[in-house]
Assembly symmetry: D2
Homo-oligomer: 141 residues x 4
């Protein structure tokens, strides 16, 4: 597609420190697997913020982000009170969606790796919508 834009991949375009609390763990003594998806979304939210893109403003303009698909590899378990680094990079930018590569690391050691496709939809019609201009401008520059 001509609307696709290749973004140069950087080792860590953005990263967020995340601490593991008891709420995140399960009876196996490790972070419950579904919670990595929460960590990854926290990083995407804060990354949008650093780009000056407010999710609440977007929602008021009926622009909603939805996760379309994801591939997760759980490499090593995170433990209670671990201090994690949750990293994000844009792998591919399309007109109406973004492919993210994300990682949860502990002291540089990979714990969980994900490929997550997020699409923009019109909050009313629920149909695919173009990514907001403010975001495209940031990502293509």
């Amino acid at each position: 597609m001509t609307s696709d834009v290749k973004v140069p991949i950087e080792p860590a375009a953005f990263s967020l420190p995340v601490r593991v609390y008891i709420e995140d763990t399960d009876a196996g003594g490790v972070v419950y697997h579904a919670n990595y998806l929460k960590y990854f979304e926290r990083a995407r939210s804060d990354w949008l913020d650093t780009l000056g893109v407010s999710q609440r403003t977007l929602l008021s303009e009926n622009c909603q982000f939805v996760v379309v698909s994801c591939q997760l590899d759980f490499v090593r378990p995170a433990l209670l009170n671990d201090q994690l680094t949750v990293a994000l990079q844009v792998e591919r930018l399309r007109a109406a969606s973004i492919d993210f590569l994300q990682q949860a690391l502990r002291n540089g050691e990979l714990l969980c790796r994900a490929k997550i496709k997020v699409a923009c939809i019109d909050a009313l019609t629920k149909k695919p919508a173009k990514l907001p201009d403010v975001l495209m401008q940031h990502l293509q520059s």
Copy 2:
């Protein structure tokens, strides 16, 4: 208040079986304390259903239930794969709110007890609103 209606307390006006899954537990090997609030709300939701009150219909009429306050006592821990009974009774019915007594039990043994006040608000103005008629009629009969 004259709009208050005393409802006779019954041992278990409604109860819901709830199974403890790994998602509910924490690294202490027990159900994470905040999750009892989820169990209690599941019971209130299903109880509304048995009364023929649909939360989605209410939301479309801008009637929203919100938890105003709660008092929780954690008596004994629930464990992975426990089969719980989550019980509910109406303690007091007011024009715009309901006081619930709720319990989580395992084979009749009390694990957690709660007193939960739920109010009805107008979803748009966020101001207190009368409980829906359909609910009042059921509870006063």
Copy 3:
């Protein structure tokens, strides 16, 4: 690998009814994407039960199941109070892991599809361990 066992795929080897509660939804008005992983694990837990395999017994024998990887496709959103069917089938059985195909459906309509690899590890050493005999016997017969 000679220890691999091909299991004939059946349309729905097991399914669990799951109701969507407020706890499952997010500000977008739909089920939060990470929560499908919870639904899928509930189905796997109950399926183990129907096979007579107790997770607590397994844990006491230091046999622990961990999710190794997953691929999720979010096709359509589930809404508050939806009644879902969460289905499961074994796609592939190995000596120390199982590949599951799982689906969340609403009135037969696919909402979310997943491929989830679950491995058995020794709870103490955290190293791969053979699947419990009781499970292998059930799945190969």
Copy 4:
């Protein structure tokens, strides 16, 4: 009890900034009520850290903290992407438990207030245990 120690209440003995993510919200568009208990525990965990008390060290010494009871008042709803301050102060210190006063605030405005009793138990016997010395020394000085 002679082992009780009155701790002078300070306006905000400790506070933690907490951002509201989509995972925290529900279909009502606000933070799901049970999640304030998670916020409050995050603050208690980080507060223990600032005192040099590691929960993992405590667990390895079979000292486990459990929430015994709580009283929550939900005053105003928190919204997506709100930046909250989650405050904590010790209201009362006993030999084997602590009463906390906790608040979630947005720009100084009270959203949720809680009184939470946390007890120390022996992780093996599950019986009440004295608070760890390191904690008592910090709190009584």
